[in-house]
Amino acid sequence: MDTSGLGGGAPSFELQQFLEQEKQKAMVNELVAKLTDSCWEKCMGTPGSKLSSGETACFSNCAQRFLETSQLILQKFERMQQG
């Protein structure tokens, strides 16, 4: 791909790779933000001086179960499309 002399033309391979990586990171950040948001509602009591062990476990379980649920529903939809 010739990028010389293209005013704002196709970005270089290096730049494309960088943008792809940043996109991936942004998606993970977004997922973490979303999970923290909804698990906060389920797990958080009155904010103390640190998270209680129960709260910590709840956040961790909540995040993992959310991902599991997501997988489950995805698989169900796939089966529904095939059936």
Binding site: G7, G8, E22, V32, K50, L51, S60, A63
Partner: protein, 88 residues
């Protein structure tokens, strides 16, 4: 987004990749910080200011302070759970 909207086709080829990457990183970090602030504000307002009075009380203010710290801590816990759960 000056580097994108007005590329300079100079002999040096305009802004270098390094400059563009720095700009993207800065803007992403800024957007992330703004969104994080808005979320934490909403969560801690809901959690700590249950009956708005004529001014923020000392206990409300300290609740907000703890709440912000706990939200950051919770984000870390969730982040680790997500990274451990998705080795694929």
């Amino acid at each position: 987004m000056d580097a994108f909207s007005s590329p300079r086709p100079s002999s040096s080829g305009g802004p270098s990749n390094e400059e563009m990457m720095d700009q993207v990183r800065t803007q992403l970090a800024h957007a992330y910080a703004e969104e994080f602030f808005a979320t934490v504000r909403d969560k801690c307002f809901a959690k700590c200011i249950t009956k708005p009075g004529s001014s923020l009380s000392g206990s409300e203010a300290s609740c907000v302070s703890r709440c912000v710290d706990r939200y950051i801590e919770a984000t870390g816990v969730v982040s680790r759970a997500v990274l451990n759960a998705s080795p694929r």
